[in-house]
């Protein structure tokens, strides 16, 4: 079966979830991405992306502890599933293999 397509933004979100190791939830992910990429990301975009990722089975979620600043509401904590992790790795491998092939032909080009 063909692997599900992962968009660029989804990939970023998935990577962020993976990086945050169990502490990933809506606001935290948003801030992390803004911090790391400098993009203007909105909260609803993150939620929608997480929703899609969960549909595709790449992340799973559970409700965490409530905090005061959330008005006593719980957060939904996301973790990457094995499938999600493998997808990230495969994307990475594809990229690396392309980069490997790219690096050497590039050299002559620079020498031009």
């Amino acid at each position: 079966m063909k692997r599900s397509y992962l968009g660029e933004f989804e990939e970023i979100v998935l990577l962020t979830v993976a990086v945050m190791e169990g502490q990933a939830y809506g606001v935290a992910i948003t801030h992390e991405i803004i911090e790391q990429t400098g993009r203007a990301v909105r909260l609803n975009q993150i939620h929608a992306a997480l929703d899609r990722l969960e549909d595709k089975g790449m992340v799973k979620s559970e409700m965490g502890e409530p905090t005061a600043e959330r008005g006593g509401r719980r957060k939904r904590l996301f973790t990457v599933t094995a499938y999600g992790r493998r997808t990230l790795q495969e994307i990475q491998e594809v990229r690396v293999s392309f980069w490997d092939r790219l690096l050497s032909p590039l050299k002559p080009a620079t020498s031009l």
């Binding site: 909260l43 929703d51 549909d55 409530p66």
Partner: protein, 875 residues
């Protein structure tokens, strides 16, 4: 204040939150809102509250998208619930498709069920009405009617009327008796007048004032403490009051009556409920009756000590724990203390609620008809259910593949069960709606047939209880078995074409068909026997000739001028003869035990029916004079008696002519003996009767017409009547009609029974028709093959009909003894009855067989005549 201001601004905008709540799925709201609030707190610190609030709005708007409107998809597979709404919708859809697809069978099922439910419920309505009689009184559980046994030996009989003093004495002396009331028919005042309106009131009563407090016949107007202020007070029912006064307030109005008496209306009660055994139009104070009876007596008798006059219906309310047996003994002691020679008298108490359905002695009366009809209602419903069960199980073969597929794709047995239950329920719902329509349409005709005034009162909880029970009962009876059977197919076998042996043998179905036809045979046989018996009692030799005779009662003035009236009538064309007597020969009411003859034993009582007649009476009615002579209309006749055979036999008088006999105060001699004749309903044996001669009592005038000019004869009689009593209505009746009226209830019952039996048989025939159609359909190809191989049409019809005929024959065998037993029981009620003859059962069986053959053969012949090419080609 600053604190408050601060707190307000620390919170994110409330409106935005509300908006979010509106547009965000409930299971997402917590995390989304939590994130938003956390972000807000963060931004508050970073960019200040004003911009943070703006940002908050901006973020919220981002969530107003369809994605967040829908719920999160759950990560597990959805489970199927037995009662999930989607499945139920699906059940209804498949059920409806099935009904429409098999129009023919649906039609048969719905027709049978509709007819069964409608008729069954109509009968049960009747039953419910019968059972509700006299139970509407609050104290009805503790109310009793006082009755007395009187007489000895074969003359012993029960009277429902008692002496007057026992009511009050009982109440005073016995603590068990809480309250008592006496009623006595009013024959004294009959013609009531208000302004120009004159009505002959025939259904009025004298009563104690306790009538209105003890029974639930409350006064709507008037004083409940003292309903009759004086002896000339009268209480009317609503509709009686309307008859005289229209819409005017009746209280205080004065009704005048004969001999310048007048009554002032002192109260109004609601009309007596239809299910009350006590039904009257007017109530007069019983003290007036006593006053009239005893005012001029010189022998010191009055209502407190007169133990001679058995003229009063007495009702008691007892303490709940009262012992009935002891109480009746105590009452008897009171009676004997006051009148020691009434040793033959014993009291008994009948519960008020039993009055309508049981005879005075407690034996079965109307309750037998109620039971009979309940059974018929039940049978009709059962037959309708059997139809449904048979057709749906037979046809389940065709659905085995559907069931198997459903099972293979994962339907649980409980779901399939549910599916078929809903299918049945849908069919039932349709049938119920139609049945209501049918009931509504049939009700007027049914009321006429049954002599009831039933209504479909949907505000009455009892109607709903009845309908609910009927429908739930029939639904359960007819849905569970087919649903069980259908849901229990084994998919592999069914798909391979092998169905479980249970189904192919279909023994159960055969049992049901046999049951159905056994019921039909029983009903046919019963119908035959009932109508034979009714014919028998109406055509039995009565011992007198009543053809072309009509009669009416003369009032005083006319009776005093009888000779002139007679001479005048005999001159009229169309009148052949006249005679007179003291009572109606069709139903002699009066009875007395006040008699004596040589050889009467001490303590023996013989009740005898006394009739005063003139010398024309015996030849007029062609009563056979066995011995002795007739009256001669001479004064000497006042000490002459003529007895009937039964009286002679009962009194054990040998060679009666010339023997002495005392009737009341008159000690005379027996001059003649007449052959027995029937002067009561055939339910009763002929009783002793005595003719005596006393012209002043002969109020019943009989006129025999020539048979041709009956109308002129009636007109002449009416002229004669009106000459003396212009105010009174001329009320005549042909004896044939009065005679038929004796059997009105029997005829009604008989007719209803016929109708119900007919319907039951029709419904079972309908079911058989459906079953036969199905069999023929299933065997189409087999028939085709047989025909190709040379089978004749008749042999195929035989083959198809044989199975059913066998079942019907078994049904006849089962039904005969049951019908025989049931009908023997029914006939025991009649003193004069037919024997249950064997040919009735042969005929009933033959009829059932014919009906079965007719229904089956239509389909069989159709199947047998079919061109095999066609039937074999179709696959």
């Amino acid at each position: 204040m600053p604190c408050l201001y601060k707190r307000k601004t620390m919170n994110p905008p409330r409106l935005a939150d509300r908006l979010l709540r509106l547009f965000c799925a409930s299971d997402r709201l917590e995390e989304v809102q939590g994130d938003l609030h956390e972000e807000f707190t963060y931004q508050l610190r970073r960019i200040g509250q004003r911009r943070a609030r703006w940002r908050y709005w901006w973020d919220v708007v981002g969530f107003l998208k369809p994605t967040f409107l829908s719920k999160r998809q759950s990560d597990t597979y959805s489970t199927t619930y037995l009662m999930s709404s989607i499945m139920i919708r699906n059940y209804f859809r498949t059920a409806w498709r099935n009904l429409v697809k098999n129009r023919f069978y649906s039609l048969i099922n719905i027709t049978g069920l509709t007819a069964g439910l409608a008729v069954g419920m109509l009968i049960l309505l009747w039953v419910q009405d019968e059972l509700s009689f006299d139970r509407f009184h609050q104290q009805s559980a503790n109310m009793y009617r006082l009755e007395n046994w009187a007489g000895t030996g074969s003359s012993r009989q029960i009277w429902t009327s008692t002496v007057a003093p026992i009511a009050e004495m009982g109440k005073k002396e016995l603590p068990e008796i809480k309250e008592a009331v006496r009623l006595s028919y009013n024959y004294i005042y009959t013609l009531f007048k208000y302004k120009d309106k004159t009505v002959n009131e025939e259904n009025t009563t004298f009563a104690d004032p306790t009538l209105f407090s003890m029974f639930d016949f409350p006064l709507i107007q008037g004083n409940p403490v003292n309903p009759f202020p004086d002896n000339h007070s009268i209480i009317l029912t609503e509709s009686t009051a309307k008859r005289y006064f229209g819409n005017d307030n009746p209280i205080g109005k004065v009704l005048t009556t004969t001999d310048n008496n007048s009554f002032k209306v002192s109260g109004i009660i609601r009309d007596f409920p239809k299910n009350s055994s006590i039904q009257r139009d007017m109530v007069l104070p019983i003290s007036l009756m006593f006053d009239t009876m005893y005012r001029e007596r010189t022998d010191g008798r009055d209502q407190r000590n007169d133990f001679h006059n058995f003229n009063y219906d007495t009702y008691y309310v007892l303490q709940p724990d009262a012992s009935i047996d002891q109480l009746t003994d105590k009452l008897r002691n009171i009676h004997l203390r006051n009148k020691p020679d009434d040793t033959d008298l014993t009291y008994l108490l009948q519960p008020l609620a039993d009055m309508h359905l049981y005879r005075a002695d407690g034996s079965n009366g109307g309750i037998e008809t109620v039971r009979m009809f309940s059974i018929i209602a039940l049978l009709i419903l059962v037959i309708a259910c059997i139809n449904y069960v048979n057709l749906s199980t037979a046809r389940s073969l065709l659905r085995s593949k559907e069931v198997s597929m459903r099972k293979i794709v994962g339907a649980a047995k409980s779901q399939l069960f549910m599916q078929f239950l809903i299918e049945t329920a849908l069919l039932f719902a349709l049938a119920t709606i139609l049945a209501f329509g049918l009931m509504y349409a049939l009700l007027p005709a049914y009321n006429q047939l049954s002599g009831k005034e039933l209504v479909l009162d949907f505000s009455d909880y009892r109607l709903w209880r009845l309908i609910g029970l009927t429908i739930v009962g029939t639904l359960a009876a007819s849905s569970i078995y087919p649903a069980l059977l259908l849901s229990s197919f084994e998919p592999l076998k069914a798909l391979k074409g092998k169905v479980s042996p249970r189904l192919s043998e279909a023994t159960f179905r055969r049992v049901l068909v046999v049951t159905q036809f056994a019921v039909s045979v029983i009903l046919i046989a019963s119908t035959l026997i009932i109508s034979n018996q009714l014919k028998y009692i109406q055509s039995k030799e009565l011992g007198y000739d009543k053809t072309h005779v009509f009669g009416f009662f003369m009032r005083d003035e006319m009776s005093q001028h009888y000779d002139a009236v007679k001479a005048d009538l005999l001159n009229q064309p169309g009148i052949a003869a006249v005679a007179r007597a003291s009572s109606n020969i069709v139903q002699i009411g009066a009875q007395t035990g006040d008699n004596e003859w040589d050889g009467k034993e001490k303590g023996e009582t013989m009740f005898i029916r006394p009739v005063a007649i003139d010398k024309y009476f015996i030849p007029f009615f062609k009563i056979q004079l066995l011995r002795g002579v007739n009256f001669t209309d001479s004064p000497a006749d006042s000490l002459h008696f003529i007895l009937n055979e039964t009286a002679v036999k009962r009194a054990r008088i040998n060679d009666p002519i010339g023997k002495s006999f005392r009737l009341w105060k008159d000690k005379g001699t027996i001059v003649g003996v007449v052959k027995d004749f029937h002067f009561e309903s055939m339910r009763q044996k002929i009783e002793p009767a005595i003719f005596y001669y006393r012209p002043s009592q002969m109020r019943a005038l009989y006129v025999k017409t020539t048979g041709q000019n009956a109308q002129e004869a009636i007109a002449a009689a009416q002229r004669a009547y009106k000459r003396y009593n212009p105010d009174f209505p001329f009320d005549y009746a042909f004896l044939d009609d009065s005679f038929n009226r004796l059997y009105k209830s029997e005829q009604q019952t008989g007719l209803l029974f016929n109708v119900f039996a007919g319907i039951a048989i029709l419904i079972s025939a309908l079911g058989l028709f459906g079953l036969a159609t199905y069999t023929a359909q299933v065997r189409t190809r087999e028939i085709g093959v047989r025909k190709v191989l040379g089978a004749s049409v008749s042999s195929i019809i035989q083959m198809l009909a044989k199975d059913f005929i066998k079942l019907v024959l078994i049904a006849i065998l089962i039904a005969t003894p049951i019908a025989w037993y049931a009908m023997s029981q029914w006939l025991q009620d009649f003193a004069y009855k037919i024997d249950v003859q064997w040919w009735v059962f042969v005929l009933a069986g033959f009829l059932a067989l014919a009906i079965a053959l007719l229904t089956v053969s239509f389909q069989s012949i159709k199947a047998a005549l079919m061109n095999p090419v066609k039937s074999l080609r179709s696959e």
